[in-house]
Amino acid sequence: MKKTFTKLALTGLLASTIIGGASAQEDTIKVGILHSLSGTMAISETTLKDAMLMLIEEQNKKGGLLGKQLEAVVVDPASDWPLFAEKARELIEVNGVDAVFGCWTSVSRKSVLPVFEELNSILFYPVQYEGEESQRNVFYTGAAPNQQAIPAVDYLMNEEGVERWVLAGTDYVYPRTTNKILEAYLKSKGVAEEDIMINYTPFGHSDWQTIVSDIKTFGSAGKKTAVVSTINGDANVPFYKELGNAGIKAEDIPVVAFSVGEEELAGLDTAPLVGHLAAWNYFQSADTDANAEFIETWQAYVGDDNRVTNDPMEAHFIGFNMWVEAVEKAGTTDPDAVIDAIVGVSVPNLTGGYSAMMPNHHITKPVLIGEIQDDGQFETVWETSGLVVGDAWSDYLDGSKDLISDWRAPLSCGNFNTATGKCGGSGS
């Protein structure tokens, strides 16, 4: 780690010598990248670090920001949640970064929240998450449950005629909250208690035989059955392998996943999985010029024609461009000015539309449902007709029904209770 800093410091020094005279601090705008490069989550987060470095390089090619060059500061929180908070503090206090892009798991985000609040900096969080949160210093560029889970369930219900539901997830906060929301939603749609099966497994679970056979049994009750999977990262490969081997075909029991993207499928032979679904806001297969250009730049940057792109990368793409635009609008990188300027900023996304930052610090996105293809890509089979606004507080949970979030001047509150008319209602 120390080496990286020395390297960065050296590069900075070199740059300043070339430009002439002035100190490195004034010539560059520093951007922090807080993604695990080792440990369990490295599998997903390393890609995001590379994507950020690429975005920063591209921006510098375009002439930087406010006439200055951008400089990336990379730290490695090593999949260790408390270390995320320490590293965030280091980025802000020691390195003096103006914005941080980072975190993957919800627990790592929760761990850095107090730091960003205390030091008043900005975090862009690129991953789909369980909602029930809105913080002044955080911008959520991934999907909230209403931008992923709810539309996916609607699709299965309306297009596939599903009546029986298996909610399978890894045992931590994101699947548990999402499943709670989905259960409430399904019941509100008239699904009976006995037609919902909820199942949790530990992180990295690898023996799926019992669960897959349970799903098969649950599915043989004469009603169309689907699996809604919030199984995370590593555990997916053995799960899908078992599904494929047990001969559960998408035509009979489709599985819709919220954490499986192109990157996760890269470790799998997808031929037996064709037709299983995923819900995201972006697929690599999106047929737009912006996306083709993005993929080309990415593959050239990592020097590998087979590297895939995925949804959280697009979220960083959107978040970074929003930040750039907000800084230009505000004319400064001062966090308070940027936080005020960024609401309402709208930038092109990669699926052919525009995404805008909403007052609740979530963004607008299209929701896409894709089917797995035999080449490891997804093919969009359904999408929302317009953009969906991210909803921080779910309308289907008792604790959060009445809460809204609006960080604009008069209200300036992340959890305003419309029933009591007070800021700081219930919720986390």
């Binding site: 390393t46 009979d252 890269a266 470790g267």
Partner: protein, 540 residues
């Protein structure tokens, strides 16, 4: 009987003659507009078009529909003509969907795929079912009948009757009868025929039949309902018995995975007494060797793919074994008798190995393919047995037997046992104890390597692969009894089966916790595990 048969044959013939005109249509140009119509509009339009194609009853449309289901049907953007396209180089090689003759090539951007979703795939499956019921190949007829069974389409009854009359293969006939029963239950035919159908399904007796009968139970009334209820109870009873058998099988399968992961550790930790935290990484390296072997085979000799695992086995053994010897010579031999330092040092090595693999191969999962003989499943009664699990059980047993043989029947095994039982005496007898230490550690690591080859078939091949197994491995060795390979075998199988019997009731998370609690209690009672070593060797 024979009269009846000839009667059906006659009917079959009549149907053939009646549908004569549509067969004459085999002139491809008459069907072409219909085929090209598949590319027009969205899913709903495509579905209608499939219906129109099926209505022609012409088997000539089957290849096009099959290609559509597999996602190989493309439309040329310039004129809207539809082709079966296969990837060839940068573009596609086109085949005419009706004449099945090559039709030139097209660039990647010149054609667009006709999209299908699950709903369309279901429609296609039943459409193809009715089109291919009379095919020459019994396997195709079987698939067709299975497709109709799943579709439960009452309109299939006629086609099935005709096909049944002409069917000669008993296996296919049985499936066709079941498919017919499913269709009958979904139709508005009279109760007598429905009761017959319920009887057929009740004999069939598997989950698919159960699923159908439960549906009938809730929708029908009177005698049909009673018969369905009876059949459901009967099937449920037999399935419950099979479930227990299935649980034992799952337990054995989980046990064999635990055994594979732990057996190398049983040597390094159990026999040598080295707490090797880098053991999981040896497993991981074995899996990566498999990946490299498969990559090489894919690029240079694709024909050998089915043998890739066999080729990977010795290489994985050697690679992990050599790394093991290097670790023993470089680090561990300085630390004998200092367990805490060994633990820390090997833990450090495990981090180094993980990060090294991450730097070389990248942090993402690598794809290790399953050879044909490792994929799929077969049915044994009401149990589904997947081939990869079955082979892993066989493989684990072979590895265990092989290791036993090495330790009990070879001179090297004799040295190893001598050194672990009494190091100084063995040295006095002229055994080079440092050499034996290195080789034994190498053997343990090498076995972990070949376990990696097997685990690459069921788990992620990522730098974290080993971490998932290290705790379980220690658990098995400690539970089974340190220093005893039989203990490891019995321990692994016991833990596997206990885990699988707990899981359906307690869930995967709680199940695992219960197993840990059981082990803690057990260790309180028998600190030396299931098969404790006795005698003076224990104190050494």
């Amino acid at each position: 009987m024979s009269l009846l048969k000839s009667f059906f044959l006659l009917i079959g013939l009549m149907i053939c003659t009646l549908s004569g005109p549509s067969f004459a249509q085999s002139d491809p140009e008459a069907l072409r507009p219909l085929i090209n119509g598949l590319a027009e509009g969205k899913y709903a339009e495509t579905e209608k078009q499939i219906g129109a194609l099926v209505a022609t009853g012409d088997p000539a449309v089957a290849p096009a529909l099959e290609a559509l289901g597999e996602g190989d049907l493309y439309a040329r953007k310039s004129d809207g003509a539809v082709f079966i396209a296969k990837k060839a180089g940068k573009g596609y090689a086109l085949t005419d969907p009706l004449t099945l003759e090559p039709a030139g090539e097209a660039g990647r951007r010149e054609v667009s795929k006709i999209k299908v979703n699950n709903k369309l795939r279901r429609v296609l499956r039943s459409a193809l079912g009715s089109l291919t019921l009379m095919a020459a190949d019994p396997q195709v007829r079987m698939t067709a009948a299975e497709a109709i069974f799943k579709a439960r389409d009452p309109e299939g009854i006629e086609a099935l009757d005709a096909a049944l009359a002409a069917e000669t293969d008993d296996g296919v006939r049985k499936v066709m009868e079941e498919a017919r029963a499913a269709a009958v239950l979904n139709s508005d035919l009279d109760d007598a025929r429905k009761l017959e159908a319920i009887e057929t399904l009740s004999v069939m007796g598997n989950r698919d039949a159960l699923s159908l009968l439960i549906g009938v139970q809730s929708s029908a009334g009177g005698a049909v309902r009673d018969a369905a209820t009876q059949a459901v109870t009967k099937i449920q009873k037999s399935i419950a018995a099979w479930d227990a058998a299935q649980n034992i099988w799952y337990g054995l399968s989980l046990g064999s995975v635990l055994l594979l992961a732990a057996i190398g550790l049983a040597i390094t930790f159990g026999v040598m007494g080295v707490i090797n935290m880098a053991h999981g990484e040896m497993v991981m390296i074995g899996a990566y060797v498999t990946f490299v072997v498969q990559e090489l085979i894919r690029t240079s000799a694709p024909g050998l793919f089915d043998y890739s695992l066999l080729i990977a086995l010795p290489l994985a053994f050697l690679t992990s074994g050599l790394i093991g010897v290097a670790i023993e010579r470089g680090v561990i031999r300085w630390l004998y008798g200092r367990p805490l330092e060994t633990l820390l040092a090997t833990w450090g090595i495990s981090l180094i190995l993980q990060q090294a693999v991450r730097s070389i191969f990248g942090p993402t999962n690598r794809e290790v393919g399953n050879p044909d003989w490792m994929s799929g499943a077969f049915e044994l009664g009401q149990m589904t047995i997947t081939y990869n699990r079955m082979w892993i059980i066989v493989f684990a047993m072979l590895v265990f037997a092989g290791l036993m043989l090495v330790l009990k029947k070879t001179p090297f095994g004799l040295y190893t046992r001598a050194v672990t039982q009494n190091r100084r005496m063995a040295a006095s007898m002229g055994i080079r104890t440092p050499w034996v230490d290195a080789m034994t550690f190498g053997l343990g690591s090498g076995i972990a390597g070949i376990a990696g080859v097997a685990l690459s078939q069921i788990d992620n091949v990522s730098p974290n692969l080993g971490q998932g197994y290290i705790i379980d491995s220690f658990m098995v060795v400690v539970f089974g009894g340190v220093g005893n390979l039989w203990g490891t075998l019995v321990g692994a199988m016991t833990l596997g089966i206990v885990n699988k019997f707990l899981e359906p009731y307690a869930g995967a998370v709680l199940g695992k916790i219960f197993v840990l609690v059981i082990i803690i209690l057990f260790i309180q009672k028998r600190p030396r595990g299931l098969f404790a070593l006795k005698g003076r060797a224990v104190e050494a």
